[in-house]
């Protein structure tokens, strides 16, 4: 009796697990075509993806599955062939990616800008700075807490290049410079908790719900422009890449409809992205 029941229970457990696992696959099979795209945290945190994806689904019947990572990791995913395309914002890294043959081409889609955030009291006095580099110099001179993404993302790369333009090396900074190694939202949370300065893209900042005592202090320098580009992964290296779907998506992202949606997207009445794809 006991042996028989044991065998029966064993079979039941196996059947249960098999049915559970197969239950996971069934909806995947029934679903529309899908492709994977690695995008930056700033693109997703801005909320723009929540508006674009349903439209893409409606027009193309295409499920775009987003992997939300930093630019560095997004390019790694493309290099390994784990995604079909990437949408990132770090020109130098993108060009290196193309030069190594990992992507087929680079198509500029839109841009937004970076802003400098800090405590309302602005102890370093960056609000009156003339350039972004000058603002950073003031922060370094005052040695007030500054949170850096420190995650090799596009925003992080931009910040490091600005320190370089200011003639300073961020690796030699004291304890006021805090590299947290996290995404935009998590870094903003940290800055909010420490009442520190931070560089963010405008979209993530406007959407961010835990502003605390922080305030937008500096923006507008042209070096703070943040160009987003779409790069399909090279099918010669990774035959499983869905090139046709990627091409359809690229056509849609550069279409007049996408232009209107992107240009009309606003948070609190502020325009966030400017469409600039060449057709």
């Amino acid at each position: 009796m006991s042996r028989l029941s044991f065998a029966r229970t064993f079979v039941r457990v196996v059947l249960l697990s098999v049915s559970l696992v197969s239950g996971l696959f069934a909806p995947a099979l029934a679903r529309a075509e899908s492709l994977k795209m690695a995008v930056t945290t700033s693109f997703n945190n801005s909320g723009l993806s929540d508006i674009l994806l349903p439209e893409i689904k409606k027009d193309l019947g295409l499920d775009v599955q987003l992997l939300i990572v930093g630019t560095g990791q997004a390019l790694r995913l493309g290099q390994a062939g784990d995604v079909d395309a990437v949408l990132v914002h770090s020109r130098a890294a993108e060009e290196a990616f193309l030069a190594a043959g990992y992507g087929t081409h680079r198509r500029e889609i839109m841009y937004n800008d970076f802003v400098l955030i800090g405590p309302k009291s602005d102890p370093a006095g960056i609000a009156g700075a003339k350039t972004a580099v000058e603002a950073l110099k003031k922060i370094a001179a005052a040695k007030v807490p500054f949170v850096s993404r420190g995650d090799d993302s596009g925003t992080n790369k931009k910040e490091l290049s600005l320190w370089k333009s200011a003639g300073m090396d961020s690796s030699g900074f004291g304890s006021w410079y805090r590299a947290v190694g996290a995404g935009m939202g998590a870094s903003l949370n940290t800055a909010s908790g420490m009442n520190a300065y931070i560089m963010s893209d405008r979209a993530s900042w406007l959407k961010f719900a835990n502003k605390g005592d922080l305030k937008l202090l500096y923006a507008g320098d042209p070096v703070l422009f943040n160009q987003y580009a779409f790069i399909p992964v090279n099918p010669k290296l990774h035959p499983q890449v869905k090139t046709d779907l990627v091409a359809k998506l690229e056509t849609w992202l550069t279409s007049e409809k996408a232009e209107k949606i992107i240009n009309d997207y606003k948070i609190n009445g502020e325009k966030l992205f400017v469409f600039n794809a060449k057709r």
Partner: protein
């Protein structure tokens, strides 16, 4: 403090209105975790029991190793599974990365040692009790293991629930191998991480309360199904 009340309110509204997204990610959480648990138990119950019954030279080392593996860091498991399943890794052709299957694989690796270790602890005591009887009946090793598993099934429930608890609340590994893709691999824990990143603490906390409620419900249902703590039964 007000964040916690906002979180409770958010959880309440999410549940009362049966938010479609919430239902979807909760079901996915359950599917992934229960699948991983079922697979882990198939390996872990016989392994833990076998370790209690069998005497061999490296037994102590094997048990110590198993106990140490209970503390396997999920992030490292996630990273290793990620590298193995990546298109440029050895199992890349299967195309499993960023699917629920990849999440199940990672969770099986994380919870199998835990379930096996607790099984072993329970079975060691039971074996001390059954030893003379089963030896005198001239049972084979397989028969002994089966008998112990069947008669110790209620303690095994505890082992399984411990595994469930570890898996359902896990975020490090499934974030890496699942990628937190909306409508594909997003589960409760990764959704909480995402909402925290957006600074929406109320929603994050609300999801957290739903997660706790879910774990509680599974535990209660499993005890009820196996009819423990009832009069006349142990």
């Amino acid at each position: 403090m007000s964040d916690i009340f906002n979180g409770l309110a958010a959880a309440f509204w999410l549940i009362v209105t049966l938010d479609a997204n919430l239902v979807e990610i909760s079901l996915r959480s359950l599917q992934v975790t229960l699948s991983a648990l079922a697979i882990a138990c198939v390996f872990a119950f016989p392994l833990g029991t076998w370790l209690a019954v069998q005497r061999f030279r490296l037994r102590r080392t094997a048990i110590a190793t198993l106990n140490a593996l209970m503390g396997l860091p999920p992030v490292v498991v996630g990273l290793v599974v990620y590298i193995l399943l990546s298109r440029s890794g050895p199992f890349g052709v299967l195309g499993l990365l960023f699917t629920p299957t990849a999440m199940i694989i990672a969770q099986v690796i994380i919870i199998t040692p835990l379930v096996a270790s607790i099984t072993h602890q329970a079975m060691r005591d039971l074996w001390a009790e059954y030893h003379d009887l089963l030896i005198s009946l001239k049972t084979t090793k397989m028969q002994r293991i089966r008998t112990l598993i069947w008669d110790g099934r209620r303690t095994l429930l505890t082992a399984a629930l411990a595994g469930f608890g570890r898996a359902i609340g896990e975020v490090g590994a499934i974030m890496i191998v699942g990628g937190n893709i909306d409508h594909a691999t997003r589960v409760l824990t990764t959704a909480i991480a995402l909402e925290t990143g957006k600074g929406d603490f109320a929603l994050a906390l609300g999801l957290g309360f739903v997660l706790i409620a879910l774990a509680l419900a599974v535990s209660i249902v499993s005890h009820w199904l196996s009819q423990t703590e009832r009069e006349g039964r142990w």
